[in-house]
């Protein structure tokens, strides 16, 4: 097991290197120039050129890439072109809201989606099944920002139960923290719930037709016990896989959700950086997201051995 973990961690290095090269090249080739944005409307072409030179953007690709890669290897993500602050500082400011949003969304989605999927499989073909699957399709189909606006309108503006926007650090209390996260998490969680519920249903349908389930029922076990202890544990591997894959969905959805609810997270940092062509920030955030995704998938792979003792690495 330890050998496997070591190999997987080592395999992360070339993956990150490819991501780094890809991101750097993409930004180099994409149109747009931070110097022109910094210089503003009053600037002359000479001003823009001077700013470009002062930022080192006039140097050849390989020189810039080499310097950047060398800094990354030393743990230095660079300095934001616009804010003049270290990228690590900017990321550090934004990690808590995004991690909070993702964790609450994840918990909410799993708590809702897994029982719904189990219920739909148990009552396959019934009205309940159709209702659950209808909700899942709706969750997939309605854009995140539409859901966000509707929830904010109803629960913040009309009922006044929750704030419209913003983020309160957990250090200032559990309820203020949660109050700011409920609407964004429900918004972001709907797609995730749809995905997990559908996969849970399909996997459970397969498991519920297995002989050991029939045996368990024949032994007189309670339905709840059969569903959640015997069947769900054996259906868990595909469900956990989808939860892992869905992290990418969460990262993408966080960009929109953080914008709609004005949460100062990594998603908004990314969008702002892209619009301004703040290359060091874009590179830093994309590397972080890529690393997170790789790490989550590694964790999921390791979790397989816990869920299914037959799996050995």
């Amino acid at each position: 097991m330890l050998g496997y973990i070591g190999r997987r961690v080592l395999a992360t290095i070339p993956v990150m290197a490819v991501v780094g090269l890809f991101v750097f090249s993409l930004l180099y080739l994409s149109p747009g120039d931070p110097a022109a944005i910094i210089a503003g409307d009053q600037a002359t072409p000479e001003d823009i050129e001077r700013i470009r030179a002062s930022l080192g953007l006039d140097r050849p690709f390989l020189v810039r890439f080499g310097e950047w890669a060398w800094r990354i290897l030393h743990g230095d993500l660079g300095i934001s072109i616009f804010t003049n602050l270290p990228v690590s500082t900017l990321i550090g400011q934004r990690v808590e809201p995004t991690v909070s949003l993702m964790l609450v969304t994840l918990v909410f989605a799993i708590v809702v989606a897994v029982p719904l999927g189990v219920l739909a499989a148990w009552k396959a073909g019934s009205l309940i099944d159709r209702l659950v699957m209808g909700l899942a399709v709706t969750g997939f189909s309605v854009p995140v920002f539409v859901v966000g606006y509707i929830l904010a309108y109803v629960f913040a503006l009309q009922l006044g139960w929750l704030p419209v926007q913003g983020y309160t650090p957990i250090a200032q209390g559990l309820w203020p923290w949660l109050a700011n996260l409920i609407l964004p998490s429900v918004t972001l969680g709907l797609v995730y719930i749809a995905l997990i519920a559908r996969v849970t249903r399909a996997t459970m349908l397969d498991v519920l037709n297995q002989d050991y389930v029939r045996t368990a029922r024949a032994k007189g076990l309670a339905q709840r016990h059969v569903l959640f202890v015997h069947a769900l544990k054996n259906a868990a591997v595909p469900i956990v896989t989808v939860i892992g894959i869905g992290i990418a969905l969460l990262i993408g959805g966080a960009v929109v959700t953080e914008t709609v609810f004005a949460i100062p997270g990594l998603g908004r940092l990314t969008v702002d950086a892209i619009l301004r062509r703040d290359y060091p920030v874009i590179q830093g955030v994309v590397l972080l997201f890529s690393f997170t995704y790789v790490a989550v998938n590694l964790a999921i792979d390791l979790l397989y051995t816990v869920l299914d003792p037959r799996i050995r690495y």
């Binding site: 022109a36 944005i37 001003d47 602050l85 908004r268 816990v306």
Partner: protein, 531 residues
């Protein structure tokens, strides 16, 4: 992972959250008044000389003070300066600073701080560059006195020092002001009415300012950038909200107090809320525009540029921008801000009336050869997107071949600086807008200049326009200034320096418990109180 490991990990994550002070709201004194403000854009940097975006200027006006400041009649008034003397020949100016001015770090403001501050400003400001070109010497005489010797008189000197358009001549401590004008400062110490809380700055999310207790406001009542800048709140928090619907909801819900620029679509909704006031933001408004590249066909031909000006219908543009509210826009047969002293319609009778038939005739007479017009339209800016859609239709109606390039503002900013042929990454046309405050005269208005290679993007080369502008700079009285601007406007219309798509106003909105908000080209926070 077993249960204990899981609990340990969760606890560690919680601790990480607790250890993140930047997002935490600061401990405020009981009863402290906090004004929460939604600015027009993100405060992504905070050097008002290095980055000339309006949002930086607006924040800068809280933190840095100015030698002079224009009032609501656009007249420069003394601000940090106590008195000034000018020799009869207009070549030597001697300024004396007010007593007791201090920077936020407690150090006194000295003439030695003013000199490098003005030097840095002149390197980046168009009118500052003109002063630098005729400057003989700028020196500190003593701690409170500095002298400016010029090679020729510059009647607009005080206006230049007090103007609203960026970059503004803010005064910084000497050690900061000596930073290269093309390198960003990293210390934000001013002598203005508020201190910048750098430790609370989360670019893209929040910026905070605290009242500077040692600030010495002038005795006169405040008027725009002039007079006593008295802060009536303890703290101002800028809350960055890129989404207009969210900002609207936050204002209605009382989560923010003042929103700088609500879009016209949301104004009817805001007006229905009894706790929200909506009014015009800036009476000087904005001038919509698209620029044609004078270097390449077809717009190197003045008759073809004329065809565009004659064919465009400003009403179409304005309705696309502000909807059906006729009080929000005016036709603009010229280039200077309506309602100001120098506004001129000279030579503009044919502009913007939507005379397609005449435009088609002019195009034919000009010998248009069917060159594709590369029309750049930034889709992420509501103003340029609306303008671009109208322009594409206009060009087709007149008979142009159009290559519509839908892109973002960042790309537009880069591509418009390219002098390459349109087929090789250059352009024929791009859309933008100018704030009316910038267009009241030629001093801070590079878009109206027509000095060829040195001109703004599009590089018009129209000597008659430049002659009119030079006449304005030398004008000694209002009548002479007006005559010069009439000449400039007529020449700019004839040569089509750019295409003005009309004059339009924008809104601002605030909660009813906020008082003292004035209309102007920036959000003047002094004099604003919150019940």
């Amino acid at each position: 992972m077993d249960r204990r490991t899981f609990l340990k990990t969760t606890a560690a994550l919680g601790a990480a959250g607790v250890a993140s002070p930047r997002l935490a709201a600061p401990a405020l004194a009981q009863g402290a008044k906090v004004l929460r403000f939604v600015p027009q854009a993100n405060l992504a940097n905070f050097d008002p000389i290095w980055g000339t975006q309006y949002v930086v200027r607006n924040a800068g006006a809280l933190v840095w003070d100015m030698l002079y400041g224009v009032d609501s009649t656009l007249t420069p008034q003394r601000q940090m300066v106590e008195s000034e003397e000018v020799t009869d020949n207009g070549l030597t100016w001697t300024f004396r600073l007010r007593d007791g001015l201090r920077f936020h770090d407690g150090e006194p403001v000295r003439a030695a701080d003013v000199v490098p501050s003005l030097t840095r400003w002149m390197a980046r400001d168009p009118i500052g560059g003109m002063i630098k070109a005729i400057q003989d010497e700028l020196t500190a005489v003593d701690d409170r006195t500095f002298r400016w010797r010029l090679k020729k008189p510059f009647p607009k000197l005080l206006y230049a020092l007090g103007k609203t358009n960026a970059p503004v001549a803010f005064i910084m401590p000497e050690r900061i002001a000596k930073t290269d004008p093309f390198t960003q400062i990293s210390e934000y110490v001013g002598s203005g009415p508020m201190r910048f809380r750098r430790d609370e700055w989360v670019p893209g999310a929040r910026a905070a300012f605290e009242t500077f207790k040692d600030y010495k406001p002038r005795e006169e009542p405040s008027s725009w950038l002039a007079g006593g800048k008295r802060m009536l709140v303890d703290r101002v928090e800028w809350v960055i909200m890129p989404d207009t619907a969210t900002a609207s909801a936050a204002l209605q819900n009382g989560e923010v107090d003042w929103w700088e620029n609500p879009i016209a679509d949301l104004v009817p909704l805001l007006r229905k809320n009894p706790n929200v006031v909506v009014d015009i933001a800036d009476p000087l408004g904005n001038i919509g525009s698209f620029r044609m590249n004078h270097l390449y066909p077809p717009f190197d031909n003045p008759k073809i540029r004329q065809a565009v000006l004659v064919g465009m219908n400003q009403e179409d543009y304005m309705r696309a921008l502000v909807g059906d509210d006729d009080s929000l826009w005016k036709p603009l047969p010229g280039f200077f801000t309506p309602g100001t002293a120098l506004y001129s319609e000279a030579g503009g009778a044919m502009i913007g009336k939507g005379d397609i038939k005449t435009a088609q005739r002019l195009l034919k007479e000009a010998g248009y050869k069917g060159e594709k017009v590369v029309c750049i339209v930034a889709q992420d800016q509501p103003i340029t997107k609306a303008e671009g859609d109208i322009t594409a239709d206009l060009l087709k109606q007149i008979g142009f071949e159009v290559d519509f390039v839908a892109t973002d503002w960042g790309t537009t900013g880069t591509r418009r600086a390219s002098k390459a042929p349109p087929s090789q990454g250059g352009w024929n046309m791009f859309h933008t807008w100018h704030t009316g405050a910038d267009c009241i005269n030629p001093a801070g208005y590079p878009a109206v200049r027509a000095n060829g290679d040195k001109a703004w993007f599009g590089w018009p080369n129209l000597p008659a326009v430049e002659a009119g502008i030079a006449e304005w700079f030398d004008a000694a009285d209002p009548a002479a200034e007006k005559a010069a601007i009439d000449k400039t406007n007529a020449a700019a219309c004839e040569g089509a320096v750019y295409a003005p798509t009309g004059f339009f106003l924008g809104y601002q909105a605030w909660r009813k418990n906020v008082k003292g908000i004035v209309k102007g080209p920036l959000n003047f926070t002094w004099g604003v109180s919150k019940a």
